[in-house]
């Protein structure tokens, strides 16, 4: 049997280190809010041959009367070259204006076989509304889970179980967030999807352990709460490992294929999902249980 409670300081130190690394990278890399949330315009063209990026930037700035940053990307896996135009500022772009830009660029580089690959033009207030709605959904979901756990697990001091479940969730959400920061991935709608998925996994893990504690409780009346929790975690350990192996290996497969085929939209989704699912398992097994014991012991110590 693994004694999770007595090893708690080691687990707390691990989590603390992860959080510290996350915070430091936050200061170094900063938050890269996607234009989906902050507004702005990014237009991508595929092209052949050579393109003078400065010339393209000048042309775009001239047509749109707005500073434009131009990047050329070359994808080795698919041999496709892209011209990425990033318009300054956070405002959107009228479709008619974009059409003008399209014509001007095609006239400037007739040999390059320019073709629109992707465009993302977002008005800031629409992006903001989307962000607020998403955050509201996340907050309400978390709140609901605490309340549900509070009532379903009344027997094992519901409120503390709910709040500790929430702490484990918060831990995982932060891990997902820091993954985005460390990998310099823009915070976009995949961030929201991944966060929600990890919340789902994490709370499911936590509930399985709470369920076992609730079930074991009558048989542990004479023994310490610490023993009850440690035994319950150990009894469900095979399940925790097997389930999380199955899910994280699946996500890892998605991850690997996304890298092989170099699909950005899936990469920004699969990497944090993989890291988050590992964190979800860890936070439940190594953090939630010991925290529950600490809360319980503290409450009973103060009662004496």
């Amino acid at each position: 049997m693994i004694k999770f409670y007595s090893k708690r300081k080691m687990f707390f130190a691990i989590s603390f280190t992860i959080m510290l690394v996350g915070i430091i990278s936050l200061f170094i890399n900063g938050i890269n809010l996607s234009i989906q949330f902050k507004g702005g315009a990014i237009i991508k063209y595929s092209y052949a041959g050579e393109i003078d990026s400065e010339l393209a930037a000048d042309k775009a700035s001239q047509v749109l009367n707005r500073d434009t940053e131009v990047q050329l990307t070359d994808d080795l896996a698919t041999h496709s070259k892209k011209l990425v135009l990033n318009l300054s500022g956070n405002s959107g772009l009228e479709a008619g204006e974009q059409e003008k830009l399209d014509k001007a660029l095609k006239a400037e580089f007739p040999e390059a076989n320019l073709e629109l690959a992707e465009s993302n033009v977002v008005e800031p207030f629409i992006g903001k509304r989307f962000l607020i709605k998403s955050l509201t959904a996340i907050a309400l979901t978390s709140l609901f889970i605490v309340i549900y756990v509070r009532f379903r697990f009344k027997k094992i001091s519901g409120m503390s179980a709910g709040i500790i479940g929430l702490i484990a969730l918060l831990h995982d959400v932060l891990v997902v967030f820091f993954t985005f920061v460390i990998f310099k991935m823009p915070i976009n709608d995949s961030f929201i999807a991944v966060t929600l998925t990890i919340i789902g996994y994490s709370i499911n893990d936590t509930i399985v352990i709470y369920d076992r504690i609730r079930e074991n409780q009558p048989y542990f009346k004479k023994k310490s709460f610490e023993e009850l929790v440690d035994t319950s975690i150990n009894q469900t350990l095979t399940r925790s490992i097997n389930t999380n192996m199955a899910t994280s290996v699946s996500v890892l497969i998605v991850c690997i294929l996304a890298y092989i085929y170099n699909i950005d939209s899936i990469k920004t989704f699969a990497i944090p999902m993989f890291i988050g699912s590992v964190s979800g398992c860890y936070s439940t097994v190594c953090l939630a249980g010991p925290l529950l014991v600490m809360w319980h012991n503290k409450k009973h110590a103060s009662a004496i």
Partner: protein, 423 residues
């Protein structure tokens, strides 16, 4: 639960049938079930255009009927461009109209910017005589409504012209008795009613409407001619099908490999219970695909995340149950008792885990638009299915199999695992 020793064969065949239906669909007249191929993918997967239109130069939120007219313009124009597979959503609160349509397949010179810019232009509504001469224009129409004609009990579209329009209309109807007047939006013919009599006073009705819906659509279109604003879109995104289908192909490939890996793992680790788990998962995935393809719910990348999460929870339900059965067996209980107790004891954990997730997914569907909506839907369906396939169907299969002598050996349900004591 009453069962007999052959039921598992029926359940497994049934699941295989459902899975095949989900993959290939059924197209035997009159029964038609859409399969995997007909799933409606979001533009982030398939490629396409999403644009948010807002009124230009309008310092108030447009009224509901104005928005309906604006929508009618968009609908007519998209019909004219043969963009039929589209979604148009009117957001009354903010006065926005959100348009989504996939990249037109087979069209290489499709220009999305141009399409978006043209969709929003002010509509030019004209009434023309058979020779094509313009009689009145949209701005001369004061209002058009749908009414129920008291005599015939049929819906009719009313037209009210301003003074100038009334005069022109009176003159035209005078000379065009028994001839049609054609109503055009831009260059699209939207209706061609026959003139029965000379109409004076500027009030007219168009009869012979097949339904209230048809009448409403025509009236909205006529009103659009007098719409005091045009639409602009400063918020739009496009993605080419080559980019999109690449993502889809990778997701499908990854899904198949991941499913195979999970199945192998379950089979090796849980043996007979693993077989049951594989069928249960197959059922869950198949029904989930059907729940998308039959009602034609749009599946986006986040929706796929929802499927991944619910399958993960499906695997979990099977793992929890199998572990529980093993625990009982390791404790020296009989097979039948172990299976019953395993399912009973595992149920509360599966129940709580899935109920919280279902509730969370409903919250997402209420608050979310687009991305969150798709995630919430697939997740909710998946978790509901967890009860059906992961608990009920798998229990029937396990119980029924265990009644056969060949499957009655305890070792088929897993090795006795010795838990190592920590020092």
């Amino acid at each position: 639960m009453k069962t007999n020793k052959h039921v598992y064969i029926i359940v497994m065949l049934l699941i295989t049938g459902i899975a095949l239906t989900a993959v290939f669909g059924i197209n035997a007249d009159p029964l038609k079930i859409r399969g995997m191929k007909d799933i409606r993918f979001g533009i982030d997967i398939k490629g396409g255009v999403e644009a948010v239109f807002e009124p230009s130069n309008l310092d108030r939120v447009p009224t509901e009927s104005e928005l309906e007219s604006a929508r009618a313009i968009l609908e007519t124009r998209m019909d004219a461009q043969n963009i039929l597979d589209r979604e148009i959503t009117v957001d009354k609160g903010s006065g926005h109209i959100i348009v989504r349509f996939p990249w037109k397949s087979g069209e290489t010179d499709f220009d999305p910017q141009k399409a978006i810019a043209e969709l929003g232009e002010t509509a030019r509504l004209t009434f023309r005589d058979p020779d094509g001469n313009i009689i009145v224009e949209g701005k001369d129409v004061k209002e058009s409504k749908v009414q129920l004609d008291k005599r015939s009990n049929q819906p009719v579209v009313t037209l009210e012209f301003n003074d100038e329009g009334a005069k022109a209309f009176e003159e035209a109807t005078g000379r065009l008795i028994n001839k049609p007047i054609s109503i055009y939006m831009d260059e699209t013919l939207i209706s061609s009613p026959m003139v029965n009599e000379k109409i004076t006073g500027g009030n007219s009705i168009i009869t012979n409407m097949k339904s209230t819906e048809e009448a409403k659509a025509l009236s909205d279109k006529i009103n659009s001619g007098a719409l005091p604003f045009s639409l602009v879109s400063k918020n739009h995104s496009t993605i080419t099908p080559t980019m999109g289908s690449g993502a889809l192909g990778v997701m499908v490939k990854a899904g198949v490999i991941a499913f195979a890996v999970v199945c192998i793992f379950m089979l090796v680790y849980y043996r007979l219970l693993g077989v049951v788990a594989c069928f249960a998962l197959l059922l869950q995935i198949a029904v989930q695909l059907l729940a998308l393809s039959i009602p034609q719910i749009t599946l986006t990348l986040t929706g796929i995340a929802g499927i991944i999460l619910s399958i993960g929870m499906g695997v979990d339900a099977n793992v929890i149950i199998s572990e529980r059965i093993r625990e009982e067996l390791n404790g020296g209980k009989t097979l039948g008792y172990s299976i019953d107790t395993g399912y009973n004891k595992a149920f509360s954990a599966v129940f709580d885990g899935n109920i919280t997730t279902i509730a969370a997914s409903i919250i997402m569907m209420i608050f979310g638009t687009g991305a969150l909506l798709s995630f919430g839907y697939t997740l909710m369906i998946g978790c509901i299915l967890n009860f059906v396939s992961g608990v009920t169907a798998s229990k029937i299969m396990t119980k029924s199999m265990s009644m056969n002598k060949v499957f009655a050996k305890k070792s088929l349900y897993g090795l006795k695992v010795k838990v190592k004591e920590a020092k």
